[in-house]
Amino acid sequence: MKNWIGPAAIALLAGAAGWHSGLALSTYGLMEGAIRRLADGTGVNVMKYGALPTPANQPVVRPSPDLAYSSCPYDLSDGPVLVKVVPVPGRYSSLSIFNARTDVVFVRNDQQAKEKPFEVVIAREGQQVPAGKQVVRVGYDRGIALIRLLLNAPSDIKTLDPVRRQSSCHRI
């Protein structure tokens, strides 16, 4: 039995390492999976104007069927990314910027923006950005900028889609 004391202690340490690694892999792995799914067909640093969530269209877990999602999966490895948001007057919308760890590093809704269009540059520390732009510095290259637009009914998308398509993102 004495021969197993050392291995048992190692097993406990490995268990703790496995626990923390499992949590980290879940977090970063699931986020990377979402980035890849949202970038499928269009690539990164492009705004994708998603179809309304339905049982047949759920690129991300727990979507709200009351929201139109526009997503910009970004990759800053070749430079900063500019996100332009055009709110719909009188209608809830928000831009949220998530880093690779799933944390929100920036959020602004339509009321905070006074229902006016705004631009945000996402950049790593040390990357040069145009003067006069609002900058959000992030600690990872990859993440997702997400625009939520509230629909009172699914049919709203017919009139609101042209407006939301004025929002965009691209590398600068």
Binding site: A16, G18, G22, A24, V61, R101, T102, L150, N152
Partner: protein
């Protein structure tokens, strides 16, 4: 068995047990560091860098891209107000007043957090559906079959489910004491 075999076995067993426990823990839902209010639970740290690693991983798995509480509070319920698991073979009366937020909705998901097909193509009920005379109190029937009258949120017979209550731009009164806020009641009425 040689000594290094025993140590290697210890490492393998430990990693597998730790990793498996993490995966199991993140699949339970949103009970980590939770605020409870009737059948509903939430945390005010979702989506923030102050979230603990377990909550962050659980949200990544069950509610990726959640907003911080200053923007949206997400309540989850997988039991009725008497603590019984939500069951698609039963009908429920969900009742409550208008909630203290700019906008709110309750969405029906399976136990993995995905929308479920139903013939009516209805997956949520929102405050926008409430008539002015219902501001003081509204009722939604959650059941597989459409009720003779009133609001309806379809469920799927035989399938366990969970609900997510989203409160966008919650009011300051609510944020002071979310555990004491008046939230919808989930009362089981009948089971097939």
């Amino acid at each position: 068995m040689k000594a290094w075999h025993r140590y290697a076995l210890g490492v393998i067993v430990g990693l597998a047990a730790g990793g498996g426990a993490a995966w199991q823990a993140t699949g339970k839902g949103f009970d980590h560091g939770a605020i409870s209010n009737g059948p509903w639970t939430t945390s005010l740290t979702y989506g923030t860098n102050s979230t603990d690693p377990l909550t962050r991983a659980a949200v990544a798995r069950r509610g990726l891209l959640a907003l911080p509480a200053t923007e949206t509070v997400y309540w989850a319920a997988n039991k009725d107000s008497e603590g019984r698991p939500l069951d698609g073979s039963c009908s429920y009366a969900m009742t409550g007043p208008a909630l203290d937020s700019r906008w709110w909705s309750v969405t029906f998901y399976d136990r993995e957090g995905y929308l479920v097909a139903n013939p009516a193509n209805i997956w949520s009920f929102s405050g926008a559906s409430i008539a002015p005379e219902e501001k003081g109190g509204w009722r939604v029937t959650i059941a597989p079959a459409k009720p003779a009258s009133g609001h309806w949120l379809p469920s799927v017979k035989g399938q366990p489910f969970e609900l997510t209550l989203r409160m966008y731009n919650p009011g300051p009164g609510f944020m002071k004491a979310p555990d004491k806020a008046v939230l919808p009641v989930l009362k089981r009425e009948a089971c097939a």
